[in-house]
Amino acid sequence: MSAPVAEPTAAPVRQPVPAHKAAAEPTPLVVVQDLARTFDVSAPWLNRVLERKPRQWLHAVDGVSFEIARGQTLALVGESGCGKSTVARLLVGLYTPTRGRFVFDGQDAHAAYASAQGRQLRRRIQMIFQDPYASLNPRWRVEDIVAEPLREHDLLNDAAALRERVGELLRSVGLSPHDMVKYPHQFSGGQRQRISIARALATRPDFLVCDEPTSALDVSVQAQVLNIMKDLQRQQGLTYLFISHNLAVVRHVSDHVGVMYLGRLVELADKRTLFTQPRHPYTRMLLDAIPKLHDTGRARTPVQGEVPNPLNPPSGCAFHPRCPHANARCRAERPTLQTLGGVRVACHAVQEGRI
């Protein structure tokens, strides 16, 4: 499978392609440049004054850049707490970035979110949340839940037409229109997740951010959900950002995979390359830790060492305390993401050719 923009060069990352060039050289739908989000986790002002504590910042996402072409899927993987969800929330505008920008279809998304065109943009960017229980209002009927975006964006106002469209949406995710009158708690986990997919699809978005959409589901339901997502991508040319812990799922759905560690991308490659030829030592460890179905009884090698404290990240390369290849440079100097043979990776050892 060849992705038109999947071979990124350094250039578009630094300089966005001006909109007028788009015709000649199709711009990726999603361009994320140096996106960062810092949380102020300092104690309140008075505490700091009295206890002489400094301000404290948590760099949840610290300069992430990637792009996704129309109709493609980028998967983000990485340890718990590495900032995947924060990226997702940044993209849909739940957080404003502290640095960097997110250009959607040639338009600066965060500027738009803040302005009147925000509604238009929100229609085109939707999100599927991780928890199928929590993301549906327990007191609303499915009908109202799925219709809410339609009403909100004045896409449809006529009750009959709304009902028609909701039924259609439910059918498209494999639910029956008769389920409209039920409440969320009357559905199974997989069905609930489909409801939230139906809601996300209601406005015919172009870009779907999926934050661990299947981690609560068992394999058979997971298969159903993933299939629906793929079908939709085929039919409607949807673009996905797909976040998951499950590498097997990632491998199944994605075109490109980004590996995050402590708020930064450490490796970004197309799927096949990443799974067959992982470059970054963390990626390698992660792949080693996947349980394999076919060699029963074999022990895995877990990632060594403890997860570092994001409030006080290690100097240099954040991974160095757990890295078997770390040397003095790794401890002192933070590696940048560089393109090496079509793969972008941030590792001194790889760049130096040590591994």
Partner: protein
């Protein structure tokens, strides 16, 4: 092979406003000492309920309505609460899904550990504390002497799950019921936990009933697997057999649903439809509306577990084999 735990025809019911829901309907299996039994199946199939029934912690109004549970030959399903309490923790340990919520946030982990130890073992508080520290060390918590006085929220998820395991193992139980112990964790921590669990079983000779959705975990950890569907065990057998030569169509479907690391498919295999709700389980085989090998009799006759190759499966497809085997036996 002596049986550590025997579950026979276990029935669990929930009386509700629209009649009695039969959540477990004749579940039978057994576990030998030192064995790891995996339990898989669709969400709501009754995996957790089985575990809860074994440790005697069904939440009312749920109740055991039939069948028996034996621990080393002794019936434990209707023991008075006081006696059951002595078994719980002491002879059967339990690990629940969520490490974040399984620990009381208001007490140090040391207190929770020593409390458990003191309840079951005849030791002094000082000895209990010593033992607690050893347990933490065993489960791979660095600087155990210091961390024993920390509160749960001061631990990371993976460490908390290890503490939960330490708690479950505190009184050296013979059986550990682990209900989705790794679902909330990412792969790297999951790997740590599974490794730990396996090591401890090996070293202490405890048996484990491991409930999980993750076939990879099952494959690498278990000796045997039970597959549940709609409140029944539909297949049970050695792990390799079940994964590679599933005898029940549901198991087969389930295995095919797993996204494969090696092979790439444009579309995952899926079992169409959904598991029936408990109050509308069809007559006959509960799986028949979704089964691609459905036969006429599946509509109104319910199959019981029967030998199917190296495993046992509840499917009429294997009846011929059963009768054949029975004839041989006769």
């Amino acid at each position: 092979m002596d049986k550590l735990l025997e579950v026979k025809d276990l029935v669990v019911e929930f009386p509700t406003r629209r009649g009695v829901l039969r959540a477990l309907d004749g579940v039978s299996f057994d576990i030998a000492p030192g064995e790891v039994l995996g339990v898989v199946g669709e969400s709501g199939a009754g995996k957790s309920l089985t575990g809860a029934a074994i440790i005697g912690l069904l939440e009312p109004p749920g109740r055991i309505a039939g069948g028996e549970i034996r621990l080393q030959g002794e019936r434990i399903d209707h023991l008075p609460p006081a006696q059951m309490r002595r078994i719980r923790g002491r002879r059967i340990g339990a690990i629940f899904q969520d490490p974040l919520t399984s620990l009381n946030p208001l007490y140090t982990i040391g207190r929770q550990l020593t409390e458990t130890i003191l309840t079951h073992l005849d030791v002094t508080p000082a000895q209990a504390r010593q033992r607690a520290i050893e347990l933490l060390k065993d489960t791979g918590i660095p600087a155990a002497e210091e961390r024993i006085d920390h509160y749960p929220h001061q631990f990371s998820g993976g460490m908390r799950q290890r503490v939960v395991i330490a708690l479950a193992l505190a009184a050296e139980p013979q059986l550990v019921v682990a209900d989705e112990p790794t679902t909330a964790l990412d792969v790297s921590i999951q790997a740590q936990i599974i490794t730990l669990l396996k090591r401890i079983c090996r070293e202490r000779g405890a048996a484990v009933m491991l409930v999980t959705h993750d076939m990879g975990v099952i494959a690498e950890t278990c000796d045997r697997v039970a597959v549940m569907y709609a409140g029944r065990v539909v297949e049970i057998g050695p792990v390799h057999e079940v994964i590679h030569r599933p005898a029940h169509p549901y198991t087969a479907g389930l295995m095919r649903c797993i996204p494969d690391m090696e092979a790439e498919r444009e579309r995952l295999h899926q079992i169409d439809g959904a598991m029936p709700r408990l109050n509308e389980i069809p007559r006959g085989c509960a799986f028949h509306p979704r089964c691609d090998k459905v036969m006429l009799r599946c509509h109104d006759q319910r199959p019981n577990l029967m030998p199917a190759g190296a495993t046992h499966a509840a499917c009429w497809l294997h009846e011929a084999a059963t009768t054949a085997a029975a004839e041989i036996a006769r």
